[in-house]
Symmetry: C2
Subunit: 407 residues, 2 copies
C-alpha cells in the first residue's frame, strides 16, 4: 500500500436524480483509505480531464456532499463527448501527469467504453491504474446489471405522471399521448404502467422502440380503447420506429410539412407528440386529443426520487471504491444483481461485457400485441420505484334514481 495516491472522479452523459449519490458514495468511501492523499473531480466529464479542469473534492465537507447527493444532475457537470482512441490517450497522459491511480467514471455504456480504452492504454504503458466504470442512466440499457441507478427515480416520475394524467383524462374525457425518453430501450416508457391500480387505469397503450410502430394499428388501438372507456391514455417512447427501423418522427413527418428550414428535429421538442396527435385527429374526427413530451422533467425533476434508487446509487459508488481500493481490482464495471425479492448484491463485471453495448426490453416484458407491458415487467420494475407511492382512489357511491322534472 503506497502513500499519497490520487483518485479522480468524473460524470458523463445525461443527468439522473441520483447521480450525485454515487459521487458522494465514492468520495466518502475513498476518504476511509489512508493511502489516498487527494480526491479530484473532473469538471464536464472527459473534457475536464483533457483540460485538467479538476476540483479538489478532498476539500468538501461531508455535509455539503450529502446535500449535493440529494441534488439532481451531475454536480461535476457533464459532457456529451464520446472519446476515440486519440482522445483517450490525452486522458491517460493527464492521469499520468497527476499521478492518478484510481479513476472512477460515472456514466452509461459510452463511459464504460472510455474506461476500457484508458485502462488498455495504461496496461500498454505499464502504468498501474485502477479504472472503474460506475453505472448511471435513466434508460436502464446497460448489459449484465439487473438495472441501472437513475432508472428507478425516472421510472417513478413516469409512473406518477401517468397515474395523475389518467385521473385528469378520466375527468374530462379524450385521448392523451405522453412521449417519454428512450431511443433504443423502452424501459422508461414501460414504467408509465407502474402506478395503475384499477382494471381500466391508464396507460391503456404503451409503444416501445423494441417493436415496429404501425400507424394503422396505433389508430385502431386508440379507437378500440376510446370506445370501451371513453378515454385513452398512451405512453410512447421517443424512439419508436417503422418497419425499416427509421424513427416514426421521420416517417410521419414525410406526410406532414417540414418546418421553414426543411428539418425535423428528433428530440428536445414536442414534434413527435404533435405529429401523433394530428394523426389521431385526422383519423378519429371530433375527439379531444392532447400530447405532452416529458422532456427534461423526467430526468431532473427535484423531489421525485425512489429511495431504493437513492440507496443503490450510493452503494455502487461505495462498492466501486471497495473493489478498486479494498480488493485491488484493476478494472471493471460495477453491476447490480438481484439475489432475492427484493435484495441485491454488487459485482465487478469485465468492461468488455458492458462497454458500448445496449440492452433492450426482453420479449417477456412486452405483450403479444406489442402495445403494452406484461406482469413480468411490473414484477421486475415495481421494487425499483420505491415503496411510498401516493395511493389513489375513486368514489364508489351508488347512482341516485332520476326524477321527473317540471318543464
Amino acid at each position: 500500500m503506497k502513500q499519497g495516491e490520487k483518485v479522480l472522479i468524473a460524470q458523463g452523459g445525461g443527468p439522473t436524480a441520483v447521480i450525485n449519490q454515487t459521487l458522494a458514495g465514492i468520495v466518502l468511501e475513498a476518504r476511509k483509505y489512508p493511502q489516498i492523499s487527494k480526491i479530484y473531480g473532473a469538471l464536464r466529464g472527459v473534457s475536464g480531464i483533457v483540460n485538467q479542469d479538476f476540483v479538489d473534492l478532498t476539500m468538501e465537507t461531508s455535509r455539503n456532499l450529502e446535500q449535493v447527493a440529494l441534488t439532481p444532475a451531475a454536480a461535476l457537470l457533464s459532457t456529451r463527448v464520446k472519446p476515440d482512441e486519440q482522445y483517450c490517450e490525452k486522458i491517460f497522459r493527464v492521469l499520468k501527469a497527476h499521478d492518478i491511480r484510481y479513476f472512477f467514471y460515472i456514466g452509461g455504456n459510452d463511459s464504460a467504453d472510455t474506461v476500457r480504452i484508458v485502462n488498455e492504454q495504461a496496461k500498454i504503458a505499464n502504468y498501474e491504474l485502477h479504472a472503474i466504470h460506475v453505472p448511471k442512466t435513466i434508460d436502464n440499457d446497460l448489459m449484465v446489471t439487473d438495472h441501472t441507478p437513475g432508472y428507478g427515480s425516472a421510472a417513478r416520475f413516469a409512473a406518477q405522471a401517468f397515474a395523475g394524467v389518467d385521473f385528469d383524462v378520466r375527468a374530462l374525457g379524450g385521448i392523451y399521448i405522453g412521449v417519454l425518453m428512450g431511443r433504443h430501450a423502452g424501459f422508461l416508457t414501460a414504467a408509465a404502467a407502474l402506478a395503475s391500480n384499477y382494471p381500466d387505469s391508464g396507460p391503456h397503450l404503451i409503444y416501445l422502440p423494441e417493436r415496429e410502430f404501425k400507424v394503422e394499428q396505433f389508430i385502431a388501438d386508440v379507437k378500440e380503447t376510446y370506445d370501451r372507456y371513453g378515454r385513452c391514455t398512451v405512453a410512447v417512447s421517443e424512439g419508436i420506429k417503422d418497419a425499416s427501423g427509421q424513427p416514426i418522427l421521420t416517417t410521419l413527418g414525410k406526410d406532414l410539412d417540414k418546418d421553414a428550414h426543411g428539418n425535423i428535429t428528433l428530440s428536445g421538442t414536442g414534434a413527435l407528440g404533435d405529429l401523433l396527435t394530428q394523426c389521431v385527429k385526422d383519423n378519429l374526427k371530433g375527439l379531444r386529443v392532447r400530447s405532452d413530451t416529458f422532456g427534461f422533467l423526467q430526468r431532473s425533476f427535484l423531489g421525485c426520487v425512489s429511495e431504493v434508487d437513492q440507496f443503490e446509487a450510493r452503494e455502487v459508488g461505495e462498492k466501486a471504491v471497495q473493489f478498486a481500493l479494498g480488493m485491488g481490482h484493476a478494472e471493471g464495471s460495477v453491476t447490480i444483481h438481484r439475489v432475492g425479492d427484493y435484495v441485491v448484491d454488487y459485482r465487478l463485471t469485465p468492461l468488455n461485457e458492458v462497454a458500448g453495448k445496449t440492452k433492450v426490453m426482453p420479449d417477456e416484458f412486452i405483450n403479444a400485441a406489442g402495445n403494452h407491458v406484461t406482469e413480468a415487467f411490473k414484477a421486475y420494475a415495481k421494487p425499483l420505484i420505491g415503496n411510498d407511492l401516493q395511493p389513489t382512489a375513486r368514489l364508489r357511491a351508488p347512482m341516485v334514481p332520476k326524477l321527473q322534472c317540471a318543464e
Copy 2:
C-alpha cells in the same frame, strides 16, 4: 331547521392536485348537520346536473373519501360546459325536482357565474336555495381571494421542475425553454422562480401574459444571459401576447410554416415551445436549445402537493358548509384572506365580485424589464408551495493547479 334537506356538490373545469380535498371537506362537514338527509354528487359538473347523473355521497365511507381527497383531478368528473341562462334554468329545475336546498359548485370564475345565475333564478321562483361557489384553479386568477386552492401545488410543481432543470442545463450547457399554463394570468409561470437558491439559478427569464412579448427583446435577453452564465433557462406562459394582444403562437406561426392542414393549435401541444426554440436557433446560431411544455403534468402529477394547499383546499370546503348550513348564508364565494405571515382566514364574498372576472398579476409582482418576477411576488407565493421543499447544493471544492503533460 327542517329535516330531510339535500345537498348537491359538483366540480367544474380543469383539475388540480387538491380539488378532492374540497369535495371531502364539504361531504364530511355536511354530515355533521342533522337536517341533511342526503348528499349528492353530480357527475361531470353542470352537465351531470341537467342529466341527473347523481351519485349518493351519503353512502361513501370516510376512509374512501380521505383516499379520494389525496387523488388528483375531479373525482366527480368534470366538464368544460359554460352554462348560459337557459342552461341554468335546466339546472334549477333539477335542483327543485330533487328538493336540493344546498348547492356547492367547486370551480373557477365561470363556475362562480353559474352559481350566481342559478341563485338568481331560485330567488325569482321564491325557492329557498343556498348556492355557494367554492374556489379551485391552478391559474390563481380569481378576484378578491388572496389565492386559490390548487395554485400552491401546481406552483410547487413549477418550482421543483425549474430547480431541477436548471441543474440539468448547468451540467450540459445550452438554452432551455419551459412553457407553463396560464392564458391570461402569469401566476403559475412566475412560480418557476420559487425554488431558486443561488444568485445565478434559473429561471433566468420569465415571460408572462401580463406584458407584451417582443421577440427581439426575448432574443437579446437570452443572448445576454447565455453570455453571462453559459446557460439560460426560460419560463414562458402559454398565454404570452404581442403588442396587439394576439397570442405569440399565432404571430410567430405566421413567419414559420403551418402544418399540412394550415392550422396552428393553441394549446395541448408543444408548438409554442418549438416555435420559440426555432426562433432562438435562427438568431443565435450553434447553440443547444431545448423546450418542454409542462402540459397535464403541472396540474395532475401524482405526489407533488403543497401541504398548505392541501389544508386550505379542505378548509374552503368545510367553510362553504359552515357558511351555508351553520350560518344560513344564501349565496357567495368562499375567499381566502391572508391575515398574517403566514395565516389565513375565510370569508363569504358576494358572487358578483368573483363571477366571470379574471385577476392577473399585479404590477408590483413583475420586474421593470418585464422579463422576471420581483421579491414581492416571491414573498407572496413562497408560503403557498409548502415548507418541505428538497434543498439543493453545488460542490464548492477549490480548483486544482494544472500540470505540464508529456506529449
